[in-house]
């Protein structure tokens, strides 16, 4: 089949995602709750923890904000990718699978929709965190952070798509949460600097795309980063492209029945 992107289908998948989001405010609130609980309780509870390697005056709460945004994106994006499995079996997507639309357009539409909703959630967390002492230094910093958020979303939606294409039913969801999502979250240094991890764990952290996303956001918003920001950007970009390619590759081969 020709690899021409079917813009109408991409647009439909995107608009549909947004309409659904705005029609169920409970979904927005629900998606904000977990990250905010983490932020509030860890932020207050560990307020006086010493943070080696950060400039004086950086509170733990502020340090935690980019990590929590990363966490929110990791969860929502992976599930956005995985939900393709549900849609394929029960929903709207099944109908698109018999429409004259190539699979790559479906993948792009899903990534675009998931990224937009994920980004809205992330920006809302960032805005709420202003209450807890977070400051956005400049417009440039804000937009750099946005770029990292987008890349994180794309990378993990792609990952979710790969799982969705490989899974036959929804019973594997828990497995993915416990064996993939949580390890990725803890390895990323969302809650601490990965420099505090023993070497062997830190090596694993280097393989986690979220590490670079969180580090990049910290660099942009707080001016603290383990790696140089361009490195964060290119590594994460690379991961995202690979994940999208893989997601599209597996999805092309998927049979829906």
């Amino acid at each position: 089949m020709r690899q021409v992107i079917h813009f109408a289908a991409v647009y439909v998948l995107w608009v549909r995602e947004l309409k659904k989001l705005f029609r169920s405010p409970s979904r927005i609130i629900g998606s904000l709750m977990t990250p905010l609980l983490f932020l509030i309780f860890l932020g207050f509870g560990l307020k006086n923890m010493a943070l080696p390697g950060t400039p004086a005056g950086t509170t733990y709460t502020v340090f935690l904000v980019p990590g929590i945004i990363g966490m929110g994106l990791l969860f929502s994006s992976t599930f956005a990718g995985l939900s393709l499995l549900m849609d394929r079996e029960f929903g709207f997507l099944k109908e698109i699978m018999v429409a004259p639309v190539n699979r790559i357009s479906i993948v792009i539409g899903r990534i675009l929709g998931g990224t937009t909703t994920g980004l809205m959630q992330a920006v809302l967390i960032l805005l709420i965190s202003l209450i807890f002492g977070m400051r956005i230094p400049s417009v440039l910093a804000f937009f750099s952070a946005i770029i990292f958020m987008i890349l994180i979303a794309v990378a993990f939606i792609g990952m979710g798509l790969v799982f969705a294409a490989k899974m036959k039913d929804t019973f594997g969801f828990n497995l993915i949460v416990n064996f993939v999502i949580f390890p990725l979250f803890f390895l990323s240094g969302a809650m601490y600097s990965i420099n505090n991890l023993p070497t062997w764990l830190r090596t694993l952290s280097y393989l986690d795309p979220l590490t670079y996303g969180v580090d990049g956001m910290r660099g942009a918003l707080l001016g603290i980063s383990t790696f140089p920001m361009p490195l964060d950007f290119f590594v994460l970009l690379f991961f995202s492209l690979i994940m999208v390619k893989l997601g599209a590759f597996f999805f092309e081969r998927v049979e829906s029945a």
């Binding site: 089949m1 109408a8 029960f90 709207f92």
Partner: protein, 331 residues
């Protein structure tokens, strides 16, 4: 002109299990064609192959002259599909569901609204178009899906168990829509069903499918004529039905005999005149006859004749029950 559907020894295997086993048939343009068989007979698998959702293991099939393996896009453009489980978006209105569908099929902007109004009128949902689909009843959802399947003016409409899970009254309504649609717009319809009366009422021709094979294919009338006459069914007490069947085989006027679950079903002409004779025979053999029933043959009898079994609703598997729950939640 090519047939609307042409299937040549189509096979689908799933991990060694043969779901569809070398079936061949063709459907003429404008025909209302039915695949009748029990759950798991391979009907949905066949439909899924024809609609390009899954790839056949071997064999060939053409929709409107297009090869389902080589010309997927052309095939997808010529078909409309209504799935067993509603594939609608509950959080969108009826109109939005239709609008998105029209966009995906590349309808021009002016055309979209006109077609949406047209198909909504056809299924009598024009006043419900702006409601969220999650508020729709089961019958309304099914009608909306049929409307959606028609928006892009497909040559062939696939209906997979179109009245599954609907109440009798709604089922009647859907039947009327399907018949009228086929008659007025000339769209070729291929449907799967495990309801005998549905196939009988709707279809011009029926393929009876069992264990992945077509066991009979003809008009409902001719299928029933195969049995030749009336069906007299006797219910025998104490598992002695085989014994009676054996004896009946010696009688000249008996055309076919089937036994199942303690019943003996005999086909013969002038069934009403044979009842006394049958009862007498039973009494001679000291059998206790619990009930006698005489009727014109139904497709159920035809199915029994060809497969030696009765179609019956099977117990739902956990997956089926899960799907039923999802359906109820309006996904």
């Amino acid at each position: 002109m090519a047939d609307a559907i042409k299937v040549e020894s189509l096979v689908k295997r799933f991990n060694g299990f043969t779901a569809v086993n070398r079936i061949s048939f063709s459907v003429k343009r404008g025909e209302l064609f039915g695949l009748l068989g029990p759950n798991g007979a391979g009907k949905t698998t066949t439909i899924n192959m024809l609609s390009t959702l899954i790839r056949p293991t071997s064999g060939k099939a053409y929709i409107d002259g297009f090869d389902i393996s080589k010309n997927k896009n052309e095939v997808r453009n010529s078909i409309g599909m209504v799935f067993q489980e509603p594939a609608l978006d509950g959080k969108l209105t009826g109109r939005e569901n239709l609008y998105f569908h029209a966009m995906i099929y590349g309808l021009k902007k002016e055309e979209r609204v006109a077609r949406i109004n047209e198909v909504l009128r056809l299924v009598e949902l024009e006043d419900k178009g702006n409601f969220l689909v999650e508020k729709y009843s089961g019958g309304m959802k099914r009608r909306l899906e049929i409307a959606r399947g028609l928006i892009h003016k497909p040559r062939v409409l696939f209906l997979d168990e179109p009245t599954l899970g609907l109440d009798t009254q709604t089922r009647r309504h859907i039947w009327d829509y399907i018949k009228r649609l086929n008659r007025d717009s000339g769209v070729t319809v291929i449907l799967t069903t495990h309801y005998m009366e549905e196939a009988d009422f709707l279809c011009d021709r029926i393929a009876i499918i069992d264990h992945g094979k077509i066991v009979a294919l003809d008009t409902p009338k001719k299928l029933k004529d195969v049995l030749g006459g009336d069906v007299v069914r006797l219910e025998i007490d104490g598992g002695k039905s085989e014994k009676l069947a054996k004896k009946l085989k010696e009688l000249k006027w008996v055309r076919t005999i089937r036994t199942y679950n303690g019943f003996v079903a005999v086909t013969t002409s002038h069934g009403e005149k044979r009842i006394p004779e049958l009862i007498e025979l039973g009494q001679q053999m000291k059998l206790k006859i619990k009930s006698v029933n005489l009727r014109k043959p139904s497709l159920e009898d035809v199915f029994l004749h060809f497969t030696g079994r009765v179609i019956r609703e099977q117990e739902g598997s956990p997956i089926d029950m899960y799907k039923a729950v999802m359906r109820a939640r309006g996904r």
